[in-house]
């Protein structure tokens, strides 16, 4: 089994994310990758994207709306073609100045050495609140 290789690839993708090297991440995806975070539209990086071109939009949405991003992964669980991870993701939403720090879980499915599916879990209620303008919340 190539579980350990898959884990190393995921670690390399997280390292690329930490240094802002989105091109390296996109290079690890299949052409038909499915990239899913189910959440409300106020979270600009939520939704379902297909293909590296659309996934670029995920990272652009993160990069243009957040600062002080910090992703820490402490658990890797690999079996067969799947790697599941768990950790925390913290950031400040630039437009509102509000911060969140949420537990996250990620599911990566591999096909022929590339990630063909990514499913992202976080506390979407918490993240949505951070994107909510104070004026809108008070309305």
């Amino acid at each position: 089994m190539n579980e350990q290789q898959n884990v190393e690839k995921i670690k390399a993708m997280y390292a690329a994310f930490a240094r802002g090297d989105v091109a390296s991440i996109l290079g690890a995806l299949t052409d038909d990758v499915e990239w899913i975070l189910e959440g409300p539209a106020i979270i600009p990086f939520a939704g379902t994207r297909r293909g590296p071109g659309e996934v670029t939009g995920f990272f652009q949405a993160l990069g243009t709306t957040q600062t002080n991003q910090k992703l820490t992964i402490d658990t890797y669980v690999a079996q067969g073609d799947v790697v599941a991870t768990m950790g925390r993701y913290a950031a400040t939403v630039t437009a509102t100045g509000r911060s969140f720090d949420a537990s996250v879980a990620h599911f990566f499915t591999f096909r022929e050495g590339k990630v063909s599916k990514f499913v992202d879990f976080g506390d979407t209620a918490l993240m949505a609140e951070t994107y909510q303008q104070a004026s809108a919340a008070a309305r």
């Binding site: 579980e3 669980v77 537990s103 996250v104 879990f121 993240m127």
Partner: protein, 139 residues
């Protein structure tokens, strides 16, 4: 490795939940289990519980506030002491009549053959919306 045994235990817990046999679920937990469900307080079963007695409160809150439960698990990922599952949880909130269908991820950690920690992820924004009274939204 005991990964397959852990997966079988998790499947048995889901089956027990499916038939409403909560004591069978609680019997699989360590005495000091930590049971963490992410989400805001409007989701009445969200929060951190410790010990089987507090976890019983989680199942009571589910049963008291939801109907037409449908829990479907389509992926099990196991390595070492951890089993991660991926699926969907659909239900209707009795008080509001609103239904939701949320992706879920569960992270079970085992110690000495019992579950010592559960992390429960979902689209908390969608679940919270189902608990939200229309009057509160308009107010």
């Amino acid at each position: 490795m005991q990964e397959q045994q852990n997966v079988e235990k998790v499947k048995a817990m889901y089956a027990a939940f499916g038939r409403g046999d909560i004591p069978a679920v609680l019997a699989e937990l360590a005495a000091d289990v930590e049971w963490v469900v992410y989400g805001p307080p409007i989701i009445v079963y969200a929060g951190t519980r410790r010990g089987s007695a507090e976890v019983a409160g989680f199942f009571e809150a589910l049963a008291a506030t939801q109907e037409n439960h449908e829990l479907s698990i389509d992926s099990y990922v196991a390595q070492g002491d951890v089993v991660v599952t991926l699926g969907r949880h659909a239900a209707r909130v009795k008080a509001t009549g609103k239904s939701f269908d949320s992706p879920i991820a569960h992270v079970f950690r085992f110690r000495d053959g019992k579950v010592s920690k559960l992390d429960d992820f979902g689209d908390t924004s969608r679940i919270a919306a189902a608990y939200q009274q229309a009057a509160a939204l308009a107010g």
